[in-house]
Amino acid sequence: MIADAILAHHLLDRQQIAARVAQDLEDDWVVNIGIGMPTLVPAHIAAQRDVILHSENGIVGMGPPPKNPKDVDPDLLNAGKEPVTLVTGGAYVHHADSFAIVRGGRLDAAILGAFQVAANGDLANWKLRGRPGGNVGGAMDIAVGAKRVFVMMTHTTREGEPKVVEELTYPLTAKGVVSTIFTDMAVIAVTPEGFTLQETAPELTAADVQDATGAPLIVADDLKSISV
């Protein structure tokens, strides 16, 4: 295992993770963008691509943040309440219709942040251990409704604890829903056999990623280096 200081130097930053997620979005897909790190993804989807972004607050065809501050509109915000734009041909729906899109199977993918993902695809992203209340937002609806759930997160907590784990220790958001995990260290697919390590950050080895992971990783035969 390489020293922590050197390891930190080799981690992807948030924009690089967002750029990597954007590579897996296909044209004509309808993709929900969740709160937190996922809101960075739209800026990395090339202008000539035709991915239709959905925001839970009733935006179908969400565009990137406005380039000019004068175009900021308080009535046009993303799930994280940050200013966005509407693409030409976009539409607004009310909240019940927005979540009918979600639960009705119209989302080809959703990009969500997470506290933990378990080997069986269980997702935890709404409540910290022992904290009263919690912040569920649309996470539970989107996690069960989307055809694919892409999780975007740091590989470990600030204290260095693995977030890719055998079993959840944080409260469950939804069972068996995560398809792929994109972190600052790796791209990991959730398969019936368990976690499969598909890509590592440049300069990191499969062993480095395994050391920071709380469950066994199956290393893909064609293990690649993340290119962003």
């Binding site: 009535d75 046009l76 009310h94 019940a96 609806d141 069972k175």
Partner: protein, 223 residues
Amino acid sequence: MKQKRFENPDQVVEPVFAGATIMVGGFGPSGVPEALTDAICRHDVRGLTIISNNAGTDETGIARLLMQGCVAKIICSFPRATESTVFKERFDAGEVELELVPQGTLAERIRTRGAGLGGFLTKTGVGTELAAGKEEHEIDGETYILERPLPADFALIKADCIDPRGNLTYRKAARNFNPVMATAATTVLVQASCEVDLGAIDPEHIVTPGIYVDRYCIYNSPR
């Protein structure tokens, strides 16, 4: 034609009583009928149950109601946003009760009430803490939980344009919860940004028909 127009927000919220359950439109700061929540603050109506997606932004809207001590309970999906500092203080001090509801379930419970249904089955929340005490049903091999309709005494709605019948349009994503809430409450109170003549809104563009609206005022909130 029934007179629904009032001169100011204070007159619109005049029927709101202590202990009422009130739906408040909005998502974050967008689409919140702040002129009406501010008027309720001025009237100092207490013991309210608030149904809304969030628990107030900075010191505006629901946050002002919380600061004034008007709120006994909040039913919402995302109470602990960074900008919901007032809620965090009041909740951590044990002064406000919280019922956390997944956002899509919140919208659908409101819609269900407006549509006169007895509830609905959803996969959202199955196996989680938020499904505790809810009936499970198996449909075609999949597990669903039963969610019940969510009623309210009042809905506070922020609209864009209104005509004398109370027909409403909304502006961009400020639409959010407003149209569903307008169908679900006993009495619907509206602040609209612009007033137009009867017939001026294309019937194809009316989102909320005026039959749902009881009292309104014009309030030019900054865009």
